[in-house]
């Protein structure tokens, strides 16, 4: 009788352990950015800078049915936390591909329109690149491009990577692609705290 009770208890404990281990296996797609990933980004970056976007230009190259969109950004650095301290102007270049879509189609009569302009809107994922507007204050984690004096943000072009572009706002430092986890979120409330946190985790002395 005691033996049966004992085996029953063992079975219960085993089931609980299996349940626990399987519940851990559930994996959310892109977790909020934690201190470990941020430290890795800081270590991987060739340059980390805080500054103001002074110009944004976009160019497109058509290769039907796709077009390659390249965004050229010039940034005036205020602080360089890692990398070449003498930089007066940081040039950032990002590119992505999309299906070519004329801005406005005028479809001939007879094909269920009256010849009025028709516009297409795509509902879907935004390209995994930074969004820049002149005057924005940003903090960027950059890697060298093969071209001379040009950089690209870490994670650019990859939906599964953390993009190294942060916006400095009145509410603190934010990303428009993901959230920060508890520890990092605390530092991100204030620009100065976030900068000090990066400085202490950048992986080199400037």
């Amino acid at each position: 009788m005691k033996l049966i009770r004992f085996i029953g208890l063992w079975f219960l404990i085993s089931c609980l352990m299996i349940f626990y281990s399987e519940s851990e296996a559930v994996r959310p797609p892109l977790k909020p950015l934690g201190s470990e990933q941020l430290q890795k980004m800081a270590a991987d970056a060739d340059m980390i800078a805080v500054g103001t976007v002074i110009s944004v230009r976009q160019s497109k190259t058509l290769q039907p049915p796709l077009e390659t969109v390249t965004v050229h950004v010039a940034m005036a650095p205020e602080k360089i936390l890692k990398g070449d301290q003498s930089s007066q102007l940081i040039k950032i270049e990002e590119s992505y591909q999309q299906f070519f879509m004329p801005d406005i189609e005028i479809v001939p009569d007879g094909r269920n329109t009256s010849g009025k302009p028709v516009i297409a809107h795509i509902a879907g994922p935004a390209p995994p690149v930074g969004k820049y507007q002149e005057g924005d204050r940003v903090m960027v984690f950059l890697k060298f491009l093969n071209k001379s004096d040009q950089y690209c943000p870490l994670g650019s072009g990859n939906h599964d990577a953390y993009l190294g572009v942060f916006y400095i706002t009145a509410e603190g430092v934010v990303s428009d692609k993901y959230r920060f986890s508890g520890g990092v979120a605390g530092y991100a409330k204030y620009e100065a705290d976030f900068i000090n946190y990066i400085i202490s985790n950048r992986g080199e002395t400037p």
Binding site: P29, H159, D176
Partner: protein, 353 residues
């Protein structure tokens, strides 16, 4: 005698403890996922050996942007100012390979529950579309995108033929490799979602609008290279044996200064008639959008109650406003099915207090 008993129990305890840890370690090392592959990663669909190395074939479904999650709405009781389609009939699905296909699947899941029973005919829930897609796993819904191994499917489906990775513009996997499945059973097939031959990156669907704000009915002007998602909804509905009275996409009144657009009053009329509406949003920086399903309204504050495809909750948005922080409400897609006899009776019963 007593010593022998102690020894016997001690040995048994050691053996059982060993068994316990062995089972637990095997389980945590790699549980069997939904595709029958021993992996903790739920998206590994196949594992094969090439050049002496194991290769995992991983399919990652479209996902919600973590930073965009909106707070849950508190839906008030129905009143003269509040109009709602019964929430017990409007499914809330999380993103299944494209927001527009998912939103259309929620709409058709509702119609499946209200008089159009052949829209979902799979083995789950006795062939009646369930109220969430949790039963199929996060990011999976056969009414939005069919998938080999999902919901009893034994042949390739939408995901197998068209999906590579979130945002991918590469040619679809079936091209040059195997014969495309016969389109059917899911909204994504007909709406052109994820299909490179319809110029849609993975996770995307295209909708067309008149610039002047007037309604664009069932647009087919750029077929076969481009598919209007609204036209695809009609094709799906018809493929299930039902007729459509009208389907159109339209800018909302005032968007880009138009004076012919769809109004909040018209939206209320659709809801009062028991018809959910697709809510179309656009992000001004990227000109890329998002689709959600509106199923209710509140005149106080001009609120729209909706399912946003990012979770199973109800949310709210001000008509013509920003959701949740930088998508601008730009348009609607209206779908009016021809009443079935069963549907008419059901709607009458639902309207009866």
């Amino acid at each position: 005698m007593r010593m022998k008993q102690v020894l016997r129990y001690s040995l048994l305890i050691i053996f059982l403890l060993w068994c316990t840890f062995h089972i637990a370690s095997v389980s945590s090392a790699g549980s069997i996922n939904a595709y029958g592959v021993e992996s903790d990663n739920p998206y590994v669909v196949r594992r094969f050996l090439q050049d002496g190395k194991f290769i995992d074939e991983v399919i990652v479904p479209g996902r919600r942007p973590e930073s965009y999650r909106a707070p849950k709405a508190i839906i008030p009781e129905s009143s003269s100012a509040v109009g709602l389609i019964s929430q017990s009939n409007v499914p809330a699905f999380d993103l299944s390979y494209g927001c527009s296909a998912t939103s259309a699947a929620m709409m058709f899941g509702y119609y499946d529950n209200t008089g159009y029973p052949d829209l979902y005919t799979g083995p789950t829930n006795g062939g009646v579309c369930p109220m969430t897609n949790a039963v199929w796993g996060e990011g999976e819904c056969p009414l939005s995108a069919t998938h080999l191994g999902l919901d009893g499917r034994t042949i390739r489906g939408h995901v197998d033929d068209y999906w590579i990775a979130y945002g991918s513009t590469a040619p679809d996997p079936f091209i040059g490799n195997w014969t495309e499945h016969v389109q059917g059973e899911c909204t994504g097939d007909f709406m052109g979602t994820n299909q490179s031959l319809k110029s849609n990156p993975d996770g995307s669907t295209t909708f067309y609008y008149y610039l002047d704000g007037s309604p664009l009915y069932d647009f087919t002007g750029l077929e076969p290279g481009n598919r209007d998602g609204c036209h695809g909804m009609k094709l799906f509905f018809e493929s299930r044996g039902y007729a459509v009275t009208s389907n159109y996409s339209q800018y909302i009144y005032g968007y880009n200064g138009n004076t012919l657009g769809f109004t909040f009053e018209q939206y209320k009329q659709e809801i009062d008639a028991g018809r959910p509406v697709l809510i179309q949003l656009l992000e001004q920086n990227t000109m890329l959008g998002h689709t959600m399903l509106g199923y209710g309204y509140n005149e106080t504050g001009s609120l729209v109650y909706l399912h946003d495809t990012w979770d199973h909750d109800s949310h709210e948005m001000i008509w013509g406003g920003i959701y949740p922080d930088h998508y601008e409400h730009m348009g609607v897609t209206v779908f009016i099915p021809t009443h079935s006899l069963v549907g008419s009776i059901l709607l009458l019963l639902l309207d009866t207090p």
